[in-house]
Symmetry: C2
Subunit: 467 residues, 2 copies
Amino acid sequence: MLRFLLAAAMAVAPAAAQPFPAEAEEAAATLMARALEDETGYQVIEDLTTEVGPRLAGSEAEARARGWALARLRSMGFENVRVEAFSIPFWAREGEALRIVEPFPQALRITALGGTVGTGRRGVTGEVVRFESLGALMAAPMDGSLEGKVVFVDEGMTRTQDGSGYGVAVAKRSGAAQEGAKRGAIAALIRSVGTDQHRFPHTGMMRYEEDGEKIPTAALSWPDAEQLQRAMERGPVTVRLDLSVVTEKDAPSGNVIAEIPGRTDEVVLIGAHLDSWDLGTGAIDDASGVGITTGAAKLILDYVAETGEPPLRTIRLILFGSEEVGLLGGKAYAEAHADELGDHVAAAESDFGAGRVWQLETRFAEDAQEAGDRLARILAPLGVARGGNEAEGGPDLTAIAEAGVPVVTLKQNGWDYFDLHHTEDDTLDKVDPDDIAQNVAAYAAFAWLAANAEEGFRGGEATQGAQ
Amino acid sequence: MLRFLLAAAMAVAPAAAQPFPAEAEEAAATLMARALEDETGYQVIEDLTTEVGPRLAGSEAEARARGWALARLRSMGFENVRVEAFSIPFWAREGEALRIVEPFPQALRITALGGTVGTGRRGVTGEVVRFESLGALMAAPMDGSLEGKVVFVDEGMTRTQDGSGYGVAVAKRSGAAQEGAKRGAIAALIRSVGTDQHRFPHTGMMRYEEDGEKIPTAALSWPDAEQLQRAMERGPVTVRLDLSVVTEKDAPSGNVIAEIPGRTDEVVLIGAHLDSWDLGTGAIDDASGVGITTGAAKLILDYVAETGEPPLRTIRLILFGSEEVGLLGGKAYAEAHADELGDHVAAAESDFGAGRVWQLETRFAEDAQEAGDRLARILAPLGVARGGNEAEGGPDLTAIAEAGVPVVTLKQNGWDYFDLHHTEDDTLDKVDPDDIAQNVAAYAAFAWLAANAEEGFRGGEATQGAQ
């Protein structure tokens, strides 16, 4: 069906084919202008963070979030609104405390890292051994050199606009416990993976090696890491760590899906993740993405209703579940939809906070670069520049991007993102409605253009969904 | 003795008497220059906040702080280093939690206000009634209009350089519980008395009326107050408050005192408070004051050792205990030293954080204004301007100022002070060593000049300590 339509379209196309029909570009301009005046995106963020609040993967709160999203998306008028359920291993914090026992008794602020084992009721007490980086820990001898010790990886993180400091810093989140355990350590502490100087420890998922010893692990806030460091400058320091956690083998989660049906079987996917960590209300991570993509889809929905002209391809909005605990919603989607991924023309996930979009990255075939360039030119009035062609598309798109689906990253300014990321302080007041509107504009234009592009972005034959 | 010395001094004084001898002014200039290069003040702050940490009034930690201060002041070489003990009613938080029960279940971040009663194990559950200000609550009818309700005083605080927003905002800290109880409320919540937009609730002392009903009371962080407000915009909200507290009738506290002996019985007093709230390490409130005044006194001590010339009057450094729970150290000092307050020539307490001094306020007799003006002129190179003559001198000086002791306020820039005040986030990293050095310079110059002034600042006869 699509091939037929495309063939028909191409038959009447002008000599030097433009990637997007002129009417689609005009519609994109209209959508962008409307988006900048529209508050739906922000309102969705406010409602989700207020009416549900924190929504830990697999929890009763995440289930409430799905119910909230279903009701909201249905009332907005989307089609095929549904949950695609899956189950996950559940983990939740129950209690967490760290104290310097000797020589300067005092509490330090920590948070358990996602997936950590607990300490048992008696806690774990030991002398702290500090490493300036994960690399320094890895360079330490393996022969039980940390036997009975609490390892402390006190590595910082570089603040960057594009978030590139994260990839470097986050390795210690699993690495401290993994590498510490190999050397005999009984617990692992890290300086939070974050850039703020407030007393907010940052949580986030960690993993043990399959055959490795599992030692409890937690993150200190920046000021507490400095405090521990100062205490250690004065001599040996003993701490006691108490972590209590709850786990469950199979807990319910799911992806919430809504559609604007197109005239073909092809699909353009935009989305965000519905779950959040438990500490804050997940306003920037990732209610903002939910608001941005839902706001964009709603603008398109209204535009379609107004014109009576559906897009060429279906625009599918996905609110992924359980992103924070291992991109599980994205994986579940890729599995459930393995058969139709060839018809997925393009995908973009918004999961980098509430900052403005400043760059368009693509991962398109070489002979589809012109479409990327054109897209960037259309978004330029929003302050968006053309980026490279190595887009990741967003964490929940990892699996489908690996399966060959072309992805786009509408790259947001993440300068302040890691001040708030995975902390208690991730709350609505950090979100600027004007910045959200700019994001909505970019997503609406992208989704509409991709859904009406003359060809796909896979290059050659694959552009007609053959893959 | 002092009268004799002053009479002798005046006999040789030039016709138009300067308030301060030329040598004293020269010494003050030397002290200021040295202070700006000296790190003692900052080091004291670092050591106290690291080696003791939080030091709640009446706690074992406050006792450790006294021990720490005694050892430090003795090793620095001060004379008459001692503790003047007193006892206080002890209060400590043990547990604190607030949850929205209906319709949007989620935890909100609170902290118990100092002095509050607990809720009992079953907590207190009720519908929230919000008031925009304490005034609005006070305007509500008295006849049980809040029967069974949880009152919420959602009043903001104005950010100011001089901290004047605090006096207005702090009234709700006791007022919410007092006025709520009179109207039948079962618990009282306030938006924190603070200016930050982070998820740090601010604690601080509250008091019940003597014959009033005591209802539990706590403060929400700014983002949590907004969250509760948003939830209430959507309909009735029920919350559950759980507070558990520990109290003790008589707990040990004390003031730590150190001196640089003068040549007369007269005294110039500088100081700060040693205790802090339990949430942070009390870096700005008030380890900074401890560092500033100790650093200033130490510079003078070294100067005296170098010149072999003690000051005319004794310079007494006081590190007050139990300021946070009702200015108890200041009251104990005023009682214990009631007989010698007439010999107290001037006093200044540093208790407004770590910001730079920008103004000199005095509370001197009318005919001693010239001395205040001259003092300001001497401090001008530090960026200090002359303020008014209604100085409060600092919270622990309230009692002795009421008893007639002339006081000085070296007014600090408090623009950011209430972002951190009484929160977990009051930690060393918020303190700038250069700003501390500027404060040390101002205190050293003030203390030396006051200790060597030709006359006191009480005007007329009283200047000779007769009172």
